[in-house]
């Protein structure tokens, strides 16, 4: 069954691949005036079995080892011209491989000169060239299939359930730069294992790394919670600490309150929240200055983009019982609730 499918694909490829794609282009030629003894040496040195005869740029014929043998039988050396009486069968460079294969089947020559549409010789094609060309095409095919398989999105889809959700939670300690990125890395690994689309994984990794380092740099410690569903990945990063007095200002690219010692490590560029906004499908930042900060964002896998509108509007289970305090999200209208 499998073998049959493969054969069909090879046949298909013989129509997709053109003769010019499998040619070697380094073709050895002789003129009609070349002596057969000389041609014999050329064939022997190059270990080939035939070559085209070209006269003033035009293909005049083909000579092969067979012609050499009949010359030897004559017992005297003659010019190549004497041996190329019959008309030459050729292939066009832009024809599919199937055309060349048909000619090999029909006439049984070992090679065919390949000419362009103006009749100029461009190369010679052998059965070996065809096999190599097909193998290369199959390899490219296989590589593409592998890549596609890797790119496919099937986040949690192999789990049968009406409602699938996975909850992950990570503690993030203040000033713990040694473990910066650990939560992001573990979340990334989990998503890869669950079959998330590489793009979604990357966006989550970047956004979560930034959220995590923000907690490490600015807060007294916090937590990153992730809710993974086939349709979306939601993150809630909460901390206690100084909070953000001006959320709008904090969202501006380049704005930073990081101390110098943090900047020396390359952090505190003021691009963290901007990075999160860039990577997240929705983002929502709320804070009570002097007390706490809550950042929520979602990454919606490519396949589920259509669900985005629905998701931004609905109050998901994840946030239902946790009311934002001072909301200032890009994707939601600002709202002020009683502190919880």
């Amino acid at each position: 069954m499998e073998e049959r499918r493969q054969l069909t694909r090879v046949e298909e490829l013989t129509y997709e691949v053109k003769i010019e794609q499998v040619m070697t282009t380094d073709v050895l030629t002789v003129t009609p005036e070349t002596m057969m003894s000389e041609a014999k040496e050329l064939l022997r040195n190059r270990r080939i079995s035939g070559m085209p005869v070209v006269e003033k740029g035009r293909l005049a014929g083909v000579i092969s080892t067979e012609d050499i043998i009949t010359t030897l039988e004559l017992g005297k050396d003659v010019a190549v011209r004497e041996k190329i009486g019959h008309p030459v069968r050729t292939c066009f460079a832009d024809e599919p491989l199937a055309q060349a294969i048909r000619r090999f089947d029909m006439y049984g020559y070992g090679r065919y000169p390949v000419v362009n549409r103006r009749g100029r010789l461009v190369d010679i094609i052998t059965q070996g060239d065809i096999i190599h060309g097909l193998l290369r095409a199959l390899e490219a095919d296989y590589h593409e299939e592998e890549t596609l398989k890797h790119e496919a999105s099937y986040l949690l889809e192999h789990v049968d359930s009406e409602r699938t959700r996975l909850f992950l939670s990570y503690r993030v300690r203040a000033r713990d730069f040694v473990h910066a990125g650990d939560a992001a890395r573990q979340i990334k690994r989990a998503l890869v294992r669950l079959g998330a689309h590489p793009q979604a994984v990357r966006r989550m990794a970047i956004a979560t790394f930034e959220a995590e380092t923000n907690i490490i740099i600015h807060s007294n410690g916090g937590r990153i919670a992730v809710l993974i569903q086939p349709s979306a990945i939601r993150v809630r990063a909460t901390d206690t600490g100084p909070g953000i007095p001006d959320v709008d200002l904090a969202m501006q690219p380049g704005f930073s309150t990081a101390p110098d010692w943090v900047r020396e490590m390359g952090f505190g560029s003021g691009m963290g929240l901007a990075n999160i906004r860039r990577c997240a499908s929705t983002m929502h930042l709320a804070s009570i200055p002097g007390r706490k900060t809550c950042l929520e964002y979602t990454v919606i896998p490519e396949k589920s983009i259509a669900l985005r509108e629905q998701l931004t509007r609905s109050q998901n289970d994840f946030t239902r019982n946790r009311r934002p305090i001072i909301a200032n999200g890009k994707d939601r209208p600002a709202q002020i609730d009683e502190p919880g």
């Binding site: 730069f177 040694v178 910066a180 990125g181 650990d182 992001a184 890395r185 990334k188 990357r202 990794a205 970047i206 790394f209 930034e210 380092t213 490590m265 390359g266 952090f267 560029s269 003021g270 691009m271 963290g272 901007a274 990075n275 860039r278």
Partner: protein, 112 residues
């Protein structure tokens, strides 16, 4: 181009992550700010930086970078080297400046 070739041509010192030297490198990014690298560095790319602390490995791991090139012989923390070995992410050291390294990579055709 294979990472190993780049190491040879630029005479880089492999400080850690020998296991990752056979990666095919597609491009690169240069910055000393972590968030900029997070935003700009591409999968299977090189990150050329002056930073030598542990967090560069976290960034490289999160972004699936091919390797980190630490310039001007900047001291790389032992914790970073240990983590890089663990993750199989090469840390490559050079006395050259970031400017020189990027220039030479560009000449070698690493341009994405």
């Amino acid at each position: 181009m294979k990472l190993r070739q780049i190491v040879d041509i630029l005479s880089l010192t492999v400080m850690a992550g020998h296991a990752g030297l056979d990666t095919e490198v597609t491009g690169g990014y240069a910055a000393d700010l972590v968030s900029c690298a997070m935003a700009g560095a591409q999968k299977d790319g090189l990150w050329v930086t002056l930073q030598g602390h542990l967090n560069i490995v976290a960034v490289a791991s999160l972004l699936d970078l091919a390797a980190i090139i630490v310039t001007e012989n900047k001291v790389v923390e032992p914790e970073a080297l240990a983590k890089a070995n663990e993750e199989g992410i090469p840390i490559l050291s050079t006395p050259c400046t970031t400017f020189e390294v990027v220039g030479r990579l560009w000449e070698m055709g690493v341009r994405r």
